[in-house]
Point group: C2
Chain length 406, copies 2
Amino acid sequence: MAVGPGRKVSIIPIEGIRLAAVKSHIRYPNRLDLVLVEIAEGSTTAGVFTQNAFCAAPVRIARERVKNTASRYFLINTGNANAGTGPEGELAAVACCDGLAEIAQTSSRQVLPFSTGVIGEKLPFEKILVALPMLYEALSADAWQSAAQGILTTDTRPKLASTSFTTANGSQANISGFAKGSGMIRPNMATLLAYVFADAKIETPLLENFLDSAVNNSFNRITVDGDTSTNDCCMLVATGKGSLVITDADSEAARQFQSELNAVFEQLATDLIRDAEGASKFITIEVNEGASEQECLAVAYTVAESPLVKTAFFASDPNWGRILAAIGRAGLSDLDIESVTVALGDTLLVSKGAVDAAYSERAGQSEMDKDAIRVQINLGRGKARTRVWTSDLSSEYVRINADYRS
Amino acid sequence: MAVGPGRKVSIIPIEGIRLAAVKSHIRYPNRLDLVLVEIAEGSTTAGVFTQNAFCAAPVRIARERVKNTASRYFLINTGNANAGTGPEGELAAVACCDGLAEIAQTSSRQVLPFSTGVIGEKLPFEKILVALPMLYEALSADAWQSAAQGILTTDTRPKLASTSFTTANGSQANISGFAKGSGMIRPNMATLLAYVFADAKIETPLLENFLDSAVNNSFNRITVDGDTSTNDCCMLVATGKGSLVITDADSEAARQFQSELNAVFEQLATDLIRDAEGASKFITIEVNEGASEQECLAVAYTVAESPLVKTAFFASDPNWGRILAAIGRAGLSDLDIESVTVALGDTLLVSKGAVDAAYSERAGQSEMDKDAIRVQINLGRGKARTRVWTSDLSSEYVRINADYRS
């Protein structure tokens, strides 16, 4: 189940990036489950990682390595998260990097490992080691679709996004990326697995700023079930092979790059929600007129993660009472319910803390019947605002997560 | 769906309490949906109420009235929550109380209204007014079962508890009560609807302390879906008709009364979880060795409310990785994962942040197959502890909540 048909995206290759995906039988036979990304020398890399205290072995390694060494390879497996695996898990991840480094004749520290899949089982690293030569041989500038396919777990389709733009002074730049994830999604300063590549030239500190800003408006504003993964990682690479060079964060070129980057991230993040586990609706929750962004986020996430609100969306039921009840328990001090309004699309549901006089069940129903639903909550106590994206809670979600290991 | 068979409880009548339940067709024909409790003059009453900012009209009225006047009647309807109904909703609730006061020849301020059911629809108070004379006529000392039945919504069975005890100096006391609620359950300093009655003589301030303490160890330690109702209320009445008189909070009699009261509350609270919407498992989550009770609660509720953990329980899947991931995102600062252990019943799952060496999938599976599951989490950083009860997340939960209004 997923919301709407998948988009067919044509990806602009990024000079300096080659990719490959192979079948290494990590968990299932006959599926792409091992992906390699090669990054040209001279590139810069920034990363954000899960805040979960139980972060996976590969996360601990990648986070450390990206800080200290220029990254040359991302080695990504699906089918096994290598999380909750203790010191042994770290050894397994390092062994895979060592194997690749030997083949590619580079330092193991320039290889970053990433894993996604079932938590708590030993990584079958021997299978990965066996597959590495074939994987390395397969590297090509065009393998974006199979790389995006090869990192999926319960996702029903790959997520890719790409953009190309020219700055005022004639520099040209391309950005392309892919991501995965459809459950255990409430990133916290990080995301599931997302890899975005640009051919601009950008030094690491500036690249890190671009990444933080893009993540905060995209992956850090989505939630499926409130669960934060042990393996979330989001990587941004600038190869510097194109004509755009950004050195000043306050330049027009920087603003344009950030804006294009945000669009790519937003596309990937919303694609994750559209393909969320069991999702039949794509829901945007906007909270306006808050006293602070923090309280807007508290309201937005409380509504977005309320099982009762989510099951009402699944049923296309304009049960606004559940939305009100969620707002009411979001922990805002001195919330004056008289100043709260709630709208569904263009239909005003609630004003002055009660159902709006002009509201009709028919109008509410017609908004709820849509695939994409916008909930607008105005708190009437300030100027802060935020927006999060989420999905509904369906019996399909339960089926997927009850069956996942079987 | 519910965990295990219902208990058949024989209830000890409480002198000074009479009850009645009738069918008033508020939402469905042919079901008990209107309950009256009569409280003898000279009784004392304490109440705790929902912390939801959008509390229902009857909650606002009952909370105010119980502070200022001796309560003589509880008038409780199911089928309609009278929440999100604005000033009109308050007028409707008051009209019902006025109607009863006229029949019973008492002051309307001595009548406390309670409602449960669908949020946001107008209370059909005319139906209630029509039914009041019949309801008043039906009052009897023995109608506990039908009163417990008449407050239910999606519950599949009534919840009652009763106890009787004698103090060291020969005073005898009885406590009986009933409760409802099976979804939108995460009480916050209050609960769903619960009414408990004792025949002891206890002045109001002391009675309030007994109530707070009992609620904190029972209704405030359960969660089904993390949603806090707009209508939660828990009332405790002491009629003073028995031989036990408690005047000193530090007396042996007070300690005994508190302990017996706690047992009644715990029985009602755990019965709510056993009958939670779609529940197939009764889950106890104990968190020990925390630095503070607050952080133990944060971990306990994060685990108890994780949709991924809950669907794993539904599937009887010993997917301890999901439990670890939930602990890891509970927001504890400087959590040393090496000192965390997790056990399922008597089976150690996790030690030193990874799966325990002696753990076998078979042992985990055998714990998971049980109806009642105990998760024990030791944080290894202090002496605080807590315990919460919850249920699993089943496709039945989704079905119930997607269908609720249809």
